[in-house]
């Protein structure tokens, strides 16, 4: 069963979080993400949860990590400048394996840039922005429906893999309104139980330790320092550091094909578009306008970790065309995984690629 709504993307994101059992939101207002905070401020108290507007985004993500250790599904939402401020504590969440969801409704950067215009300029920052070798998960919705369903999925991934999960949406997807079928019930995962309380950070062959929630008697010590399986600081032992950071990296990278979600159209095509987020809508319109051309389309829903298996879905591909609302951030990543030419179609300034514009480029390769 489901019901039909006509929602803004940011509303769908907040509703998805509530459906996923998110009961803590800590954040700071910033355009174009603020509707998520406002929706949570109205809804969380009624659902028995907590909304707190912190003094800045650093405090926002810090409170979210604290709430997660206290056992709550917790999230924050922000945009470029706030995202930059969160980087240090995002690294803390990765090092301490704290499940949480961070929504970035991307706007034009760098700096204060274009607060009310769309961009996808933070796609590499979410992957590499915090210092050290890290591997977070980033999902990219391209519709209001996905703002809901991928937010639910993000909470599940965060709990399963014990990592921060990013929703890397953009101003267009965050602010547009669409019809959405809202399910009555969503599927929820749980955090793994602790196997050995004396070694709470010991992981099995899946590389993921159980979660020792605060207040349950585990007396767990959680630190951003390099630590051993007991959670105790161990900062000058090279083997210990290598073992820990490699595990944190591999627990996500080794299952990237499982985590990687994507959609394909016309898989036997020679000319294939790759897209994620708002530009996918322009590609879809162009495909709709030119069905005779049988153009291929790979739409990424998961950008990080990048599962290269998605590229082999197009065995006849001779060229990948990749429109992004940045100067080609993920195009470069695709180039690392294929010998087929990847043509970046960058666009910054806040406007989406026009379908006609994409068609004119496509014609050169047909």
């Amino acid at each position: 069963m489901s019901r039909v709504e006509f929602w803004q993307g940011n509303t769908a994101c907040a509703e998805g979080a509530l459906a996923a059992g998110c009961r803590f939101f800590g954040g700071y207002p910033i355009t174009p993400s603020t509707e998520i905070a406002e929706h949570m401020a109205r809804s969380l108290p009624k659902a028995g949860g907590v909304f707190v507007q912190m003094e800045d985004e650093i405090g926002g993500i810090a409170s979210v990590i604290g709430a997660s250790w206290a056992g709550k599904r917790a999230m924050t939402a922000t945009s470029g400048p706030g995202f930059s401020l969160m980087m240090e504590n995002i690294g803390f969440a990765l090092m301490t394996e704290t499940p949480c969801v961070i929504v970035n409704i991307q706007r034009g950067g760098p700096s204060t840039g274009q607060p009310t215009m769309a961009g996808q300029g933070d796609m590499l920052q979410c992957r590499y922005g915090s210092h050290g070798d890290i591997s977070p998960i980033a999902l990219v919705p391209a519709s209001v429906e996905e703002m809901y369903s991928l937010t639910v999925h993000a909470f599940n991934l965060a709990d399963i893999y014990r990592v921060p999960v990013f929703i890397m949406a953009d101003e267009i997807i965050g602010h547009m309104r669409e019809r959405i079928e809202v399910p009555d019930k969503v599927q929820l995962s749980e955090r793994k139980p602790v196997i050995d309380p004396t070694h709470p950070f010991r992981a099995g062959c899946d590389l993921i330790p159980g979660f020792p929630t605060f207040g349950k008697g585990y007396a767990v010590h959680v630190t951003g320092l390099t630590h051993d399986d007991r959670g105790y600081p161990c900062t000058t032992n090279p083997e210990m550091h290598e073992k820990l950071v490699t595990r944190l990296f591999n627990k996500v990278e080794s299952v990237r094909d499982e985590i990687s979600l994507f959609e394909t159209i016309n898989t036997d095509s020679k000319v294939v578009f790759i897209s994620y987020g708002a530009p996918a809508r322009a590609v879809e319109q162009m495909l709709h306008d030119h069905p005779e051309a049988q153009i291929g389309h790979l739409r990424l829903k998961t950008v990080w970790p990048f599962g290269e298996r998605c590229l082999s879905q197009f065995p006849n591909a001779e060229v990948f065309l990749f429109p992004e609302l940045n100067l080609g951030q993920i195009s470069r990543e695709i180039e690392r995984h294929t010998r087929i030419p990847v043509i970046s179609i960058p666009k910054i300034g806040g406007n989406l690629h026009l379908p006609q514009e994409l068609w004119e480029i496509t014609e050169r390769y047909l």
């Binding site: 803590f24 912190m54 003094e55 810090a62 504590n89 803390f92 010590h221 630190t223």
Partner: protein, 262 residues
């Protein structure tokens, strides 16, 4: 139980230097949490970065050793998400008053139900003795080689002005008074802030002509005045020397608080 039962003994010996005042504060804190009857299972210690912030790692409870300056923001999340937990923040002068100053002010304004204990050694000890916001004017550090030219922060006045329900200052010499003040802080509904002046022989005392650990303790002892006495002296028209350390309960009140267990 006794205070000793709260120690995470398999992590000893600790990393603090010989003569450091931080251990005294841990001792007084654990005596107070034991006396008030808190249980280890629902007590959480949170800290940031610095010498002081290593303290939660030596306490046998859930403990969160976070990023520099952000302990109170993390603790806010823990406490609001589960008000049944007793949450104590242990911090230092650099962690709390420099990089974490904004979180400190806003936690006092919210009057969130935390106990914040600041081990104020007036120096960045862990990184080798750089000046902090509480380094007194004229004192030497590696980044104030000609003497600090900035006025020092009065953290208790800051907490009072920002709205904390309980504010006190003691030194590591006054262990009984400090233990009582921490007990009062733990009993407070709302934000309790206890500043403890502690000696740092390695990085503060050594550069500022305190030849031994006891020299610095003697200094704190002889230059401190109880708040009541200081108030009386001022009322009588006396001017107190600039380096006077005011001790005791600075504020005790019952303003509305956040995150209090129902």
């Amino acid at each position: 139980m006794s205070g000793d039962d709260w120690l995470r003994k398999d992590r000893l010996p600790h990393i603090w230097c010989a003569g450091c005042g931080n251990g005294t504060v841990v001792n007084c804190t654990l005596a107070a949490v034991d006396e008030i009857g808190w249980q280890r299972a629902n007590t959480v210690f949170v800290s940031g970065i610095g010498c002081s912030s290593r303290a939660p790692g030596y306490v046998l409870t859930d403990s969160l050793h976070t990023t520099h300056g952000r302990a109170i923001a993390f603790a806010t999340g823990v406490k609001l998400a589960d008000p049944s937990l007793n949450v104590v923040v242990i911090t230092g002068d650099g962690d709390l008053a420099a990089i974490g100053g904004n979180h400190f002010i806003h936690a006092c304004r919210r009057n969130i139900d935390l106990t914040v204990i600041c081990m104020n050694n007036q120096i960045y000890g862990m990184t080798g003795g750089q000046g902090s916001p509480t380094t007194p004017m004229g004192k030497l550090s590696t980044t104030t080689p000609f003497g600090s030219v900035e006025p020092a922060f009065d953290l208790t006045e800051l907490a009072k002005a920002a709205g904390a329900n309980y504010v006190a200052r003691w030194t590591g010499f006054h262990v009984k008074e400090l233990t009582k003040a921490i007990f009062s802080g733990l009993s407070t509904k709302g934000l309790a802030f206890i500043e403890v002046l502690v000696q740092c022989p390695t990085n503060y005392g050594r550069r500022n002509k305190y030849r031994s650990v006891t020299d610095q303790i003697d200094y704190m002892k002889t230059h401190s005045v109880l708040k009541q006495k200081a108030d009386r002296l001022r009322e009588e028209g006396n001017e107190l020397p600039e380096d006077t350390i005011i001790l005791g309960e600075i504020v005790k009140r019952s303003l509305p608080a956040m995150g209090v267990r129902k």
